[in-house]
């Protein structure tokens, strides 16, 4: 199956189709198990967050999805079809922006399309359409070193989105930014998601970020095992202004901390 955007699609954005499903994924390195029996479902247009203590295998899980690593057991399905090989329904956004210093902004944004076989001019035109909604107008001819961290992260997100893959995989998307820029970009992401409803699976160690952006939050346990404590975040909770002061947010965050304490086996964990 080919998932990448093909030339000639006219819409500026596209709507999510198909559910992502992980069934019983397991991965060990040598004899050390890192992931065990990880199952998860992300419906079309849903945002799911996975939080976990460091060392819980968050990035290993992403590597299984992107195909950088192969699972020892279990399988990944998209729209009912097993996901294998090099062509995958995911667009991956790494933690660092990983912009290529020798490519201008427009060519950095369009590189996913070039990899998918688009001609450079076509790829540029396609990425160009997204510059304005991403607040990047006028930067196309610049080099990454000329942009601020927040803008670079937006280019990185544009590069992810423009590939029009059904599911976005975000690895601590705003982890490398300062708190103020992070807040600004979270609001911006919520806003642009509202208009486009991509399916998103993202990984973070920032619990309040997880609650703010996701429909459902899971915890990846330190001791390899199934995902813990599904926490559902209602879309009724305001995610922009009023998020911090919403009465439900505090208890959701508290709930997640309790699950985290439970799975990290530190002091204060349940017996």
């Amino acid at each position: 199956m080919k998932y990448a955007a093909s030339t000639g699609e006219g819409d500026e954005f596209w709507t999510a189709t198909g559910a992502l499903e992980l069934r019983g994924l397991a991965k060990s390195f040598d004899t050390k198990a890192v992931l065990q029996d990880v199952s998860l479902k992300v419906a079309a247009g849903e945002v799911v967050a996975i939080v976990g203590p460091s060392g819980s295998g968050k990035s290993t899980l992403l590597s299984l999805l992107t195909g950088a690593l192969a699972p020892d057991a279990g399988e990944i399905f998209f729209a009912g079809q097993p996901v294998r090989g090099r062509q995958r329904p995911f667009a991956f956004m790494p933690q660092q922006d990983v912009l290529l210093p020798w490519r201008r902004i427009i060519d950095n944004a369009a590189i996913g399309l070039e990899v998918a076989g688009w001609r450079r001019n076509q790829a540029r035109r396609e990425a160009q359409k997204l510059l304005k909604p991403f607040g990047l107008s006028g930067t196309e001819a610049m080099y990454p070193s000329q942009l601020s961290g927040g803008m670079r992260q937006r280019v990185s997100f544009l590069r992810t989105v423009v590939q029009r893959r059904p599911v976005l995989l975000l690895d601590e998307p705003f982890g490398a930014l300062d708190a103020i820029t992070r807040d600004e970009l979270q609001r911006w992401l919520l806003n642009i998601w509202q208009q486009n409803r991509w399916s998103i699976l993202f990984i973070t160690h920032d619990i309040s970020e997880a609650v703010r952006l996701a429909d459902r939050v899971y915890v990846l346990p330190l001791e390899p095992g199934p995902l813990q404590g599904e926490v559902v975040v209602s879309r009724d909770i305001p995610r922009g202004d009023g998020f911090m002061s919403d009465p439900q947010v505090g208890s959701l965050v508290e709930q997640l901390y309790a699950v985290l304490r439970h799975v990290s086996g530190g002091p204060g964990s349940a017996p």
């Binding site: 290529l100 020798w102 990899v115 080099y143 000329q146």
Partner: protein, 255 residues
Amino acid sequence: MRMGRAIAAPLLAFLVLLALWQVVAMAQLVPPDMLPAPTRVVSAATAERDSLLRHTAPTVLATLVGFALSVTVAFLTATVLDFSRALRRAILPLLIVSQTLPLIALAPLVVLWFGFGLLPKILLVAFVTFFPMVVGFMRGFESADPQAQQLLASMGASRTVVFRLIRLPAATASFFSALRISITYAVVGAIFAEYAGAVAGLGVYMQSAKNVFRTDLVLAAVAVSTILTLALYSIVVAIERFCAPWLRIAAGDQQ
């Protein structure tokens, strides 16, 4: 502006040394046959400019052709080695050992095998510049950001596409710094080959001037070879600025 300031200080130091030399020579502290004054070197060079130029041309040709050959073969070698770990293991040690071969012993051999024409000079220039170029390319390929390569792989890119879009452009900075180092070796390599035996060239000219005790003409030829090297070096820098504008921007940002 920055460039101007960078050049001003060494230029001044050079002029001071030149003036000192002029004073020493004019005071006859050293016999003029041993150390002719800079002014005498210049006037000798002007008087002999036709034959100097006639001997410069083959050296330039050997340098350029040898260098082009070296860059091409180095690029192909480094690319093949980048794709094959087995070949890298087998060939890289041989390349390193090849650097221990003394040029002074190699030059006469190459002349013996390939005659007094252009070919041995080209080969020798290629030989002295090849290793730094290969290493420059390989270092450059390896300097590519692993995260960027993983990102491209996650997009479904093959090893070849990752090479073309990440590893090759990542090598630009390293390639040009190797190029700048090699171009200075290249002229020396050509002159050395001419020393070992040739019909024309700056090396030949220096030898024949030395044989008739024309120190001024030897120094004139040395000056020409230095100017030649500097000119080639500037051309490389100009090409680098044109081909890799982002390197300049990154450097500018640090200031």
